[in-house]
Amino acid sequence: MIARSQVVWTAFGAAALVFLLSPLVLVVFFSLSENANATFPPGGMTLHWYDVLFGNPDFWKALGNSAIITLCVGLVSMISGTLAAMALARSGPKVANGVIALVTMPIMLPPLVLALALATGYSSLGLPLGLATVIPSHLVFTQPFVILVVYAQMSGFNMAILDSARDLGAGPWTIFRTVILPIIRPTLIGATLMAMAVSLDDFIITYFTIGGGMTLPTMIWGMLRKALDPSINALGSLVLVATIGTSLLALRLTRYRG
């Protein structure tokens, strides 16, 4: 009986793993195969589609915009998220839970609603759409990840060592730089990387707040709407590798396991 249930669970686990990963594996697989229709048989291996992609000037423009947005969003959400997490760690659990429930609302709602709210707001104010409107629009749904992850570590923080540092005459900045930062640095970098992965992958909010510009996800969208462009698998693979690579690094640094 035990043996049979073990077999059933192993089969279920294998099926779950195939379900989770096979779409992603296939995109990378077809980005490297000759058959332009992305169907079986795939044909031989080739880097041709990457060549096509790298020869497309739109790709470099999109990459540049994505890099600027992701770096700015990462930096600002690291600062705003960490400051908030540190303040929350020193507040009572009631205040902390309330504030966290509030600031995580943007990641619970369908992104389309927030995207249209932001686009309508910007247009009523007469603000020109561009990178300057995309970046703050991203912050609102990336900073919750930094707050959640850093707060989880800070709430287990031994506050007594901060009192000791203060009693010995250290100012707030010195305490942060020499006591707090060395302890939370891996978590801080990991949480920032998570925020960057979320920003890099965002399509819906970017699409409605960027105006005429292009990022890697909006370029994928453009390719999907035109006739078959096989280099889409190469572009999709690059976005996957970038976001999954960033996430894996973040998981390693934060030891975050759900």
Binding site: Q6, W9, T10, F12, G13, F19, P23, L24, L26, V27, N37, A38, T39, F40, S80, L83, A87, L88, R90, S91, V99, V103, P106, M108, L109, P110, P111, L112, V113, L114, L116, L118, A119, T120, G121, S124, P136, L139, V140, Q143, G171, P172, A197, V198, D201, F203, I204, P217, I220, W221, L224, G236, V239, L240, T243, I244, S247, L251, Y256, G258
Partner: protein
């Protein structure tokens, strides 16, 4: 630096709250106000009319019902699958579970569009799913309704939401202590009885979190139905997007968006109530 601790806490919170207020609370409040406005000569004009809501109830009730039904299907399948996978990770195999957890976490933040178009390629007549089923001898010719159908939307969004639902349920299962489970086992309870009477009631909150996110995000999605749903599968998100972009009617689009959010809220309250009733342990009464 003689700031009081309370002032310092408030200062620390202020950048995050400013971002939240300026780029979430304010635009959402503005969008809510716009639902009472009108479009006159292609311009937003302040007004106080309930006409947009009347039109929403007149024209889009059917689309809303269809969307809620699809989102409910997705949320139920996703939550059930996520519970089974979380159970496997928590109580069964060691290494295998860890691989699944790592895969789910690593793919959580990436590839929204890539995942959708991957399913578009996989579910087509020439796609790998049909090919696999034919190779296994389960079907003779490709299943045509796998792509461009509500089924395609359900499959794609279950795949996308699964990691998001898995994390809260796993966190809930980690909080279930071993001692009562062993006691129940020693007293002769079957595994499914233990799951129903001890495990599920204890992670009710996390089941509800998983269900909520797996319901809300699909209920407002428009990209998945657009790419894999085909011409028959129009969800509310598609109508909202079309009202804003195609017909330039922000007030009506906004009224449809808020009506959808309200309907989702009602479904979630009902789901929470049903979950509480279903998961009250028998020995608790």
């Amino acid at each position: 630096m003689s700031l009081s601790p309370a002032t310092r806490r408030a200062l620390g919170l202020s950048p995050a709250l400013a971002i939240f207020g300026l780029f979430f609370a304010l635009p959402m409040a503005y969008l809510l106000v716009v639902t009472f406005w009108r479009i006159k000569r292609y311009r937003l004009t302040p007004d106080f009319t309930l006409g947009n809501y009347a039109d929403v109830f007149g024209d889009y009730l059917h689309a809303l019902g269809f969307t809620l039904a699809i989102a409910l299907t997705i949320a139920l399948i996703t939550t059930a699958l996520a519970f089974a996978i979380a159970y496997l990770i928590r109580f069964r195999s060691g290494l295998f579970g860890q691989i699944i957890l790592l895969s789910a976490l690593a793919t959580l933040f990436g590839g929204y569009l890539v995942k959708i178009y991957a399913w578009k390629a996989m579910l087509g007549a020439q796609g790998s799913v049909n090919l696999l089923l034919i190779t296994l001898g389960l079907i003779d010719e490709p299943i045509s309704w796998l792509l461009y159908s509500p089924a395609a939307v359900v499959i794609t969004l279950v795949h996308f939401m699964l990691p998001f639902a898995l994390l809260p349920i796993l966190a809930g299962l980690r909080g279930v202590s071993e001692a009562p489970l062993e006691a129940a086992r020693d007293l002769g309870a079957k595994p499914w009885q233990i799951t129903r009477d001890i495990v599920l009631p204890q992670c009710r909150g996390s089941l509800f979190s998983a269900f909520s996110i797996a319901f809300l995000i699909p209920a407002g999605d428009y990209v998945t139905p657009r790419l894999v749903g085909g011409p028959e599968t129009f969800m509310v998100g598609n109508f909202i997007e079309n009202l804003f972009v195609g017909r330039m009617n922000a007030p009506m689009g906004a009224a449809l968006a808020f009506t959808t959010l309200l309907a989702c809220g009602i479904v979630l309250v009902a789901a929470n109530w049903l979950l509480a009733r279903a998961l009250t342990p028998k020995w608790g009464r």
